[in-house]
Subunit: 370 residues, 4 copies
C-alpha cells in the first residue's frame, strides 16, 4: 500500500475491503511521507516494519530484491490524487499489479499514457469505482445485457451530497483554506470530478455503452468559489439514447444519494446506493419486481458478489471487497466475469468526462464530443 | 359543465372532485357535440334536461335569461384542448366563473389574451393544475416561504410515465392514427406540453419563483414521430438557482411518477405524487423529518386541505376537490389562502414554458428567455 | 341518512363517499335529535327541507306515503352506536335498504337478530368495513382464492393508533369524562371493539376463512381505565392455520397503521392501509412483486374498484365509495362481485370476535370458541 | 478459532467480521475434526500450520506452552451447538477469552454453569447476538435509556424467514434427514431456538428490561414434524408493559425479516434488520424522525459503531465486527460502552426463553415465569 497511514480514511477503507474479501494480506508499503510516522503505523498494524519503506523508489528497489515468493504482489495506491499517475506508472513498470484509488490521474493525457503502460505491462490494474462492486449493480448490468429492457430510451443518474454546505457558509478566507475547493489541489472540478464521475461510470458500466457527447450547466453556488459544486449534464448515447446526470455537493441533508435508472421500451431498472440490496424492474404490463442478492433468479455474476444468505445486508465494504476479489482472481490468472473490476479504460473515460463537462460549461453550455 | 359527457374520463374526474369538496352541484351544461347524446347523459346523471344545451351560445343565452338565483354560477371546461380558449373567453365575458382543464390555451398569445379577459371580468378563474391541491404540496410551499431551507441551491422535478410505449411499437401508419402524437391535434409538444408543464408548475408553485430561462434537449424517440416523447430541460431561476425538469412518456413501467426536490443551504424538501401524503425534510444536522397531513405541526393552509384524521390516505380526487373548494371560497367572496387555486397567470406561464422549451430544442439546445 | 348532521365526522365521510361513487344522491333524513338543527343542516346541504324529519318514525311514515318513484331507496345509519340496531331493524322492516356504520350492534344477540331481519326482508344491507373497499385488498382476496399462496401457514394483522395517548395523560377525573373510555357508552371494549375488529374483518375477508377460536391478552394501560386500549389476540383458523392480531390505541405516533400479511407455503401477501395502492407478493424463488391498481394483470374485481389510470393515488373515500357502489349495484339488482360489500354476516362475526376476546382476557388468557 | 474450517458458513462470517474491525488476526485453531482437512484449511488461509491443532485439548496444552506474548489471546467457538458449552468452559478455565456463536449452550443448566465459569475466570466472554452490533440498534437502546419515549406501553418484535418451506414440501422420509428439524440435533426448538431468541434478545437489549413471563402458541406446521417452525409468544414485562414476539421459518418469501418496535406514551421507535441504517422515531405531535448512522445527533455509542461517512451503507459483517471490536476493547482493558457486546448473561436469558416458550406451548398455552 502506498499512502493510507494513520488517520487516512480511504486507506483504512481499502484495508478493510481487502481483508473482508479473504484474498489479500497487508504486508508493507509506504504509509506516510514522514518515515517515522509510517513505521509507527506499520507497527500498530502488526506488520514487519522492515516492509515499511520511506518512499516509493525504495519500496520498488527493496521488494524487487526479494524472491518472487516473498515479494508483495499487488499495490494499492491511496495517496493524494496528484501522485496517482506517477506511482501507478512506476509500479506497473516494475512489475507490480496495481489497485488505484479514484481519480486515476489528473489529466486525460496522463490517463491515456497510463492506459498504454498497463497494456505494455500485461499486469492487472483495478480502479476503485466501488459502486460497480454491488451485487445488484452487477445484476443490473447483466439484465441490460440480456436485452430484457427492449430498446433503451433514457438513462438517468443522480449523485447528491450535502456535506460541502457547512464549508461554504463562512467568509471567503474560510473557504480559501479548503483544499477541495482549490483548483490547485482539487483539479478541474469539485462536484463533477469527485462524484459526478461515479454517476457517469455507473451509466457506462450498466449499459455497456459509451456516452458520445455532453452538454453541462455547472454552478459554483457562491461567486468567490472557483469550482463547480452543483450541476446537470445532458448526455447523448448511441442508438439515439438520451441521458442526464445530476450531481451536487450542496443539496442539504443528502448523504451519498447515488441513483440510476435505465428506461427501456419493455422494462426499466432502478437502483439506489443507499438501499443497495434492492433492484427494481418496472414494466407497463407486469407488477414491479424487486431483485435482491442471494437468490437463484439472479445471474451468476451477481450471485458471486455476495457472501451471506438472503436478507443479511451487505454494504460498501463488501462492494469494494468484490472489486478486490475480482482483482485477486485476475492476478491468480483465474477466469473473471466480464466487468468484475473497473480498469484503466474506465479511468480514461472518467477523465474525458470531467474535462468535457467543465469545457462545455465554460464555453456556454454547448455540446462537446467525448 | 362544457364537455365531459358519457365516457369522458376528465369530465368524470371533475364531477367527482366537485362533489367530494361538498361545495358544488352539477346543474347542467353542454355535454356533447351531439345534442341527443348530451341529453341522454344529463338524464343518466339525474339532471333537469332543460339545463342541457346543444351548444355554448345557447347555454349562455338561456342561463342568462334565468334569475341570478337560479343561474349556473361556475362552469367547468373539459372539452378538447383547442376549444378551451374560446369557451373560457365567452363564458367570462358573459359573467360566469370558470374552471378550466389544462392546457389553458393552445398558444401564448391566447393565454395572454385570456389573462386580460379574466382581469377585466373581475371573476374567478381556476386552472386544473391538480397537484397543487395536495396538502403536502401546500405544506411544501409554505415551508419554502418560511425561509427554513436557507438559500435555495437547486430545484429538481421529474414526471415519468410509460403509457406511450404501447402506442409506438407498431408501424408508422399505426402511429398516424393517434391524435396525441399528431401536431395538428396535440399542439407543439406531447411530453412537455402534457406532463412536463406540470413539473414546471410545481416548481414555480412551491418556490414562489419564476423560471427565467430554459435550455432543452427533447426526443421523439422514433424518427417518424413529430413530437417530443421524452426530454430534459435545464432551468435558470433568480438568485442564481439552477434547476432541471426531466420528463418522459416512454419510461416503461412508470405510472405517474411526478416528483420534486427543493434543495437549500440549510434544509431540503422532497415529495412524490405517488405517495402524496409524505413530505420529507432533510438537513445536514438533524434526522430527516416526515410530514404527513392532519397534524398540528402543519401550516393552516395544509391543514385546511384534508378531510380525514391522520393516517387515512387521501388522493388525487381530494386534491382536485381542494382546488374546487378554493374556487368556491373565491366565488363566495371568502378569504382564500395564497395559492389555494392556480389561476390564469399559471396558464400563461405554462404556455410560455412549452413554447420556449420546444424552440430551445429546435434551435440547437440553446437558452431561451421565459 | 339517519344522524350525521352539522359537525359529524362520519356522516360527512359517508356523504362524500356516496357522492364520489356517482351512484347516490342525498335526498333527506333525520340529521339531528334537535329538529331545528337538522333543518338548518338540510338547508345548508341544499336539500328540500320537507325531506328533513324530526325522528325515525316520522321519516318512515312520510317517506312510505310517497310514491315508490319519489321515495328514498336506501338509508345510511351514522348515529351513535347504541341506535344502530334499532334503526336498522325498523328501516329494513319498513322496506328500506340500509348502509350501517360500524359497529353494527352492541351485542351478539342483537347482531344475530338483525341477521334474521335482513334475511326476512330480502333487502340489501351493507356494513361500513371501509378497508374492504380498497382495490388492492380485493386483489389480495382474489389472489388468495386463486390458490397461488399454496397452503396458508400464518395470518398476521396489526392495527396501531396513538391518539388515545393524549387522553390518558391527565388525572382520573379527566379520563372519566371521555365517553370512549366509559363502558356505558363505548360497550365491552375500546381498542378491540373499535379497531381490532377491523383487523379481524380483514383477515376473514381476505382469506375467506372463519377464525375458530381466540386467546387474548389485553391491557387498559392505566389502572383506573376500565377498557382495553392495547392487546394481542392469538387466532386459530381451519387447516391448522395460526394467526395473530395486534392492536393498540396508545402506540405513540402511529396514525392508522392497519397492516395484514398472509403467509403461505408458496407465496405470501402483504398490505398496509397507509400505502393502500401497493400490494406485495413474496416468494422464496422469485423477485417480490408489487401489484398496483389500474393494470390488466389485476383481477376484474380489483379493476372495477378504481377510477383513475395507474399512478393516480386513490384513498379512503374511494374505498368507502366502492362499498356504496357495490350496494348500488345490489339495490339495482345487478350482478355484484363476491365480496363487493360487507354485509350483516360480517357484523355478526365482528360482534362475536369482540365478545370472545374480552372474555378470554377476563378469564385468564384462555382459548374461547368463536 | 475452534471449528469453522473449509465450507463452514458461520466460521467464515466470524473471520471476515474479526478482520473488518481491524482488531483481530487469525493465528490458529482447531478447524476440523479431521486433522488433515484442518491443516489444509490453515495452509489455505496462509497460517503457520503449527498453530493448527488436532483437538481442543492439544490446542490448550500447546498454546499454554507458548509465552504470553505469542499465545493466542481469544478464541472464537463456531463448532456445532452441542460443543459450545464444553469448549467454552475449558477455554475459559485455561485462561482464554472466548467469543461464542449462538446458542451459547443446549440447556439452561449449562448456561448457568457457564455464567459461573466466566465470573470466576475474570475473562471476557462475548456471545454473537450479531444484531446488537448495528449502530441504529445501539442508538435505539440509548434513546430508550434517555427516557424520550415516556412510559413504554408495548414492545413488538418479529423474525420471519421462509427458507424452511423448501425443506418440508417433500415426504416424511425427506424431512427425517434434515438435522435442523430433528430434536436430537437441533434441541428443544427450531424456530424459537434459532431465530425467535434473537427477537427476544433485541427486546431485552434495547429496553434494558427483563421479560418476566411468556405464553406461547407454536406450530410444527406439518403433523410429522417434531419441532416448532412458527409461533407467537405473548410477553409480560415490568411496569405493566406487554409485548409480543412473532417468528416463523415458513413465511414464504421472507428472508431475514427481523423487526422491532418499542411504543411509548410520548414517542415510539421502529427498526428493521433488512434496512439496518434507518431508525424511525414516531410521536403524536411531531413529524416522524429518521435517524441514520454517522451524524452528530446520534449518541456516542452509536457513533462509535460505524466506520464510513453518512450514506455509505454498512451491514451484517460490520455489525458482527462491532461486537468483535467491543470484545477487543474489553480484552485490552479499555473502557467499553454499556452493551458493547452481549455476554454470558444474555446467553442465560436466551436459554430460559427457549425452554419456557416450549413448555408454555406444551402445557396448553399458559403463562410461564422466566
Amino acid at each position: 500500500m502506498i499512502g493510507g497511514g494513520t488517520g487516512a480514511f480511504i486507506g483504512d477503507a481499502h484495508r478493510r475491503a481487502s481483508r473482508i474479501c479473504n484474498d489479500f494480506q497487508l504486508i508493507g508499503g509506504v504509509f506516510s511521507k514522514d518515515f517515522e510516522k509510517g513505521k509507527l503505523f506499520a507497527a500498530h498494524e502488526g506488520l514487519d516494519t522492515h516492509r515499511c519503506y520511506p518512499d516509493l523508489n525504495t519500496f520498488i528497489e527493496r521488494e524487487m530484491a526479494l524472491s518472487a515468493n516473498e515479494r508483495i504482489e499487488a499495490v494499492s495506491i491511496v495517496t493524494p490524487n496528484a501522485l496517482h499517475y506517477q506511482s501507478a506508472s512506476k509500479l506497473l513498470k516494475a512489475g507490480f499489479h496495481v489497485i488505484c484509488e479514484k481519480p486515476m490521474t489528473v489529466t486525460v493525457e496522463e490517463a491515456e499514457d497510463l492506459q498504454k503502460t498497463v497494456k505494455k505491462s500485461g499486469l492487472s490494474f483495478a480502479l476503485a469505482h466501488t459502486y460497480a462492486g454491488y451485487p445488484m449493480v452487477r445484476q443490473m448490468r447483466e439484465l441490460v445485457k440480456s436485452g430484457i429492457l427492449g430498446n433503451i430510451h433514457r438513462v438517468d443518474a443522480q449523485y447528491y451530497q450535502g456535506w460541502v454546505n457547512s464549508m461554504i457558509q463562512g467568509t471567503d478566507s474560510g473557504i480559501q483554506g479548503v483544499w477541495r475547493l482549490d483548483p490547485q489541489h482539487a483539479g478541474l472540478s469539485s462536484c463533477m470530478g469527485d462524484i459526478g464521475v461515479h454517476a457517469f461510470h455507473l451509466i457506462e458500466y450498466t449499459t455497456g455503452l459509451c456516452v458520445s457527447r455532453v452538454l453541462s450547466d455547472l454552478s459554483p453556488v457562491k461567486d468567490h468559489i472557483q469550482l463547480d459544486l452543483d450541476g446537470t449534464v445532458l448526455l447523448q448515447l448511441p442508438h439515439n439514447i438520451k441521458g442526464v446526470i445530476r450531481s451536487s455537493q450542496v443539496t442539504a441533508g443528502e448523504e451519498n444519494n447515488l441513483t440510476i435508472g435505465i428506461y427501456g421500451s419493455k422494462a426499466s431498472l432502478k437502483w439506489s446506493q443507499e438501499n443497495p440490496n434492492f433492484l427494481y424492474m418496472l414494466s407497463d404490463t407486469e407488477p414491479t419486481k424487486v431483485y435482491k442478492p442471494a437468490h437463484e433468479y439472479n445471474t451468476q455474476f451477481a450471485e458471486a458478489s455476495h457472501m451471506m444468505p438472503s436478507g443479511h445486508p451487505e454494504g460498501i465494504y463488501e462492494a469494494l471487497g468484490n472489486i478486490y476479489k475480482g482483482m485477486a482472481k485476475s492476478i491468480r490468472g483465474e477466469d473473471t466475469f466480464d466487468g468484475e473490476f473497473p480498469g484503466v479504460l474506465d479511468g480514461v473515460r472518467g477523465m474525458k468526462f470531467i474535462k468535457n463537462v467543465v469545457e462545455s460549461n465554460k464555453e456556454g453550455n454547448i455540446w462537446k464530443e467525448l
